[in-house]
Amino acid sequence: MMRKFYGTELSNGLMLGTAQYPSPAILADAFERSGAAVATVSLRRESGRDKAGQDFWELIQRLGVHVLPNTAGCHTVKEAVTTAHMAREIFGTKWIKLEVIGEEDLLHPDVFGLVEAARVLSEDGFEVFPYCTEDLVVADKLLNAGCEVLMPWGAPIGSGQGLNNLFGLRALRAHFPDVPLVIDAGLGLPSHAAQAMELGFDAVLLNTAVAKAGEPALMAEAFGLALKAGQMAALADPMEKRDMAAPSTPVIGKAFLS
């Protein structure tokens, strides 16, 4: 059974970004074929005559998915909090994917600013999805700040490396068994999504791996299938790993032929 996200039960754990697609039609196709339950969106400057933002918003509304606005590009608590307020008004949701970036090369979260912004926003009624690392102490502080969901990175945004710190992510899952956990960022292949779900994570959030694939809609469908496979595997209670071989064919009754 999937854990709920601030009381909302999603049809599946695929959260798909909306940036970098070759066209709006391909974006829509990717959502349809993957069955993604959540679309991430953002805010940017727009002139009065340019209606691109309005057209985009109408497209997203037609998808019939949950909308998760982000604070991408924010480097300070103030920027992130102000952006969150603007997003809440435009998109009409209390959900906010909170990003406070502290380092440009890896787009590493500023975890100190993140905790502070999460507290401010939670106290103001937001339902915060914090983009964080797998650090257990930071995770604990985010939960204390009011977060009911955590979104640790798999790898740096847009890197396509997959799950870089399996030990840390496994520890996070074990340490917070009741908290909905989303792998956010760094996935490159459907097998990465399956792996995340096999570890017991509740969802994955990705964008570049689908949007920059040669066939985005096909890749989106592949991610949807992989996610489902990983989730089923987790429910099926995987076997324990062992160091030595163990014959799967029964030894009893084997002919003595030497």
């Binding site: 400057r45 727009e46 002139s47 009065g48 307020h85 008004e89 998109f91």
Partner: protein, 65 residues
């Protein structure tokens, strides 16, 4: 008055934020606003006076990851 609108220098005689939006053709567009870094909710725009040197941000929905 000289203001900064989305980072660009502009001139306006609009006295309030809602009138500024009309002047720059935002009409019924779905946008969110901030003045000098502070969020201004839609229902507050008519109460926010625009002053010389103000930095106004007008943001619209956009693709994001």
């Amino acid at each position: 008055m000289n203001i900064q609108l989305n980072g660009e220098a502009c001139q306006t005689e609009a006295k309030t934020l809602d009138l500024l939006l009309v002047q720059f053709e935002y009409g019924d567009a779905v946008v969110a606003t901030a003045v000098n870094g502070e969020f201004v909710a839609e229902e507050q725009r008519r109460k926010i006076e625009i002053c010389d040197g103000d930095a106004v941000e007008i943001l619209a929905p956009m693709q994001g990851g």
